[in-house]
Amino acid sequence: MCGIVGLFLKNPALQPQLGALTAQMLKTMTERGPDSAGFAIYGGGAHGRTKMTLRGVTEVLRPDFEKSVLSLSDSATFSYRDDHLVVSCPDDAVSAIRELVAEYGPDVTVVSSGDSIELYKGVGLPEEVAARFQLAQMSGTHAIGHTRMATESAVTTAGAHPFSTGPDQCLVHNGSLSNHNTLRRQLVRDGLSFETENDTEVAAGYLSWRLSQGERLDEALTASLSDLDGFYTFVVGTRDGFAVLRDPVACKPAVMAETDDYVAFASEYRAFAGLPGIESATVFEPEPQRVYHWEHAA
């Protein structure tokens, strides 16, 4: 199973409500994925600065960690939400902070980084996870979320979606891949590293790898149709928007709704029931093997 939701706002007036709308959508997908949940939310980036979302900087570690980061970059700021921390820093401080994080061992990890992405995930009911990170109070331009019913790997925070393997990129997935071990080995030979045994992390890594070769997102997704074997409905988040792809068999559900104000994606229509103006939205099912892509003008 698993549930996926996505919300891309066309009307900036809705931005303060992005978190609340996403939280509501996630909650309705609880029956599809009650074991863990996560979301990536985009917005609030500042020119020349990077947002790094970290997990595992416990209260005990905080004073020492902040002091170390500030010694690398005195303009860094820190924003905590439960066990996640967003460090905002100048772009040129990112690699030094990554090296610093590595010194704290495997319990402290960078889960995403980019101009505008923040990424949060955890084990538990979607409603509880959303509340823990105060998703309902967040604003932004677009968000994607996932409720997980684990099949291919363990129920852990690291195994929850979304997976981010490149700047401002993230992926959520409903389905299961059958060639992820082979593909993981190939990608590792090409220099990628993976943190879990999860199949979706491989798909995310695969897309990031293709993007890093200079492909556009739609090209990378089209290539995945030949290279990924299994069942999938993917939603990919990028700095400016999101994309949707279903495998050729398309047994995993997907439905979309579009109005003048937003484009919404979900595994089931139920997730749309609370969206403003949904009664008059254009509701349709994305076709298999076709890349759908929405983005804000840069």
């Binding site: 047994c251 089931e268 099912e285």
Partner: protein
């Protein structure tokens, strides 16, 4: 002691659970017309009905709406999720919007009308139902269909009628590809008569039966062919 139910009833799904709605509609005493409001994509709305009642779902239905229907007349004012009217035995289900995948799956009888498009695998393993789609159907529609009729006024996706048994398929638009063992058949006078009746029952008057093409089973997969023995 049961309470006789009056002819016009309304049930609001923001106030009533699906379980209670279905128990009410499945009651032996249920008669008349029913309006189900605020469906909001909930699953299993109006399933397992056995009485000849009229039920209108005023909005979007989730999975399996009208499943296992017998005798009841169901109208869905919006879109329907996966498996609408699955395993229907008799009666009618009409969807005013689009239907998701596996519409009318395994249905034995009755009439399913979809005014918009149907998704993948429409009429999969159908066993006697009549399905009329005013729009188009997705890939692998009528997969392993055994009997009944699938009428598509628009186009059909890939692998139409794959591994078909004896259902008849009528398509007015283009067929992206035919599945294994499905072939175009001659349209007989009997077919035209049947099609005329189905279009009429579905309330479609703008298309003439002559504008459709008929597809059916080539019957090459019915029996094991000894020449293929070496493949196993």
């Amino acid at each position: 002691m049961s309470v006789a139910l009056s002819n016009h009833q309304a049930i609001d799904l923001r106030e009533t659970t699906i379980r209670k709605l279905n128990a009410t509609l499945q009651s032996e005493d249920a008669t008349g017309t029913w309006l189900v409001s605020h469906p909001e994509g909930r699953h299993s709305i109006a399933v397992g009905l056995t009485a000849p009642i009229d039920v209108t779902i005023d909005g979007q239905a989730g999975y399996y709406a009208g499943g296992m229907n017998q005798h009841a007349n169901l109208v869905i004012k919006g879109n329907a999720g996966p498996g609408v009217a699955e395993n229907m035995m008799s009666g009618a289900v009409r969807v005013e919007g689009n239907a998701s995948m596996a519409a009318g799956a395994t249905a034995h009888g009755g009439l399913l009308v979809i005014k918009g498009d149907a998704g993948a695998r429409c009429g999969i393993s159908m066993k006697g139902v009549n399905i009329v789609v005013r729009g188009s159907v997705g890939h692998m529609s009528a997969f392993m269909a055994q009997s009944g009729n699938l009428v598509v006024c628009g186009d059909a996706g890939d692998a139409l009628g794959d591994s078909l048994y004896e259902a008849r398929i009528f398509v007015r638009g283009t067929v992206k590809s035919l599945g294994a063992d499905c072939e175009e058949k001659e349209m007989t006078a009997e077919d035209l008569q049947l099609l005329q009746r189905l279009l009429k029952e579905a309330g479609i008057t703008e298309y003439s039966p002559e504008s459709f093409r008929r597809y059916g089973s080539a019957r090459r997969l019915y029996n094991f062919h000894v020449d293929n023995a070496a493949a196993y």
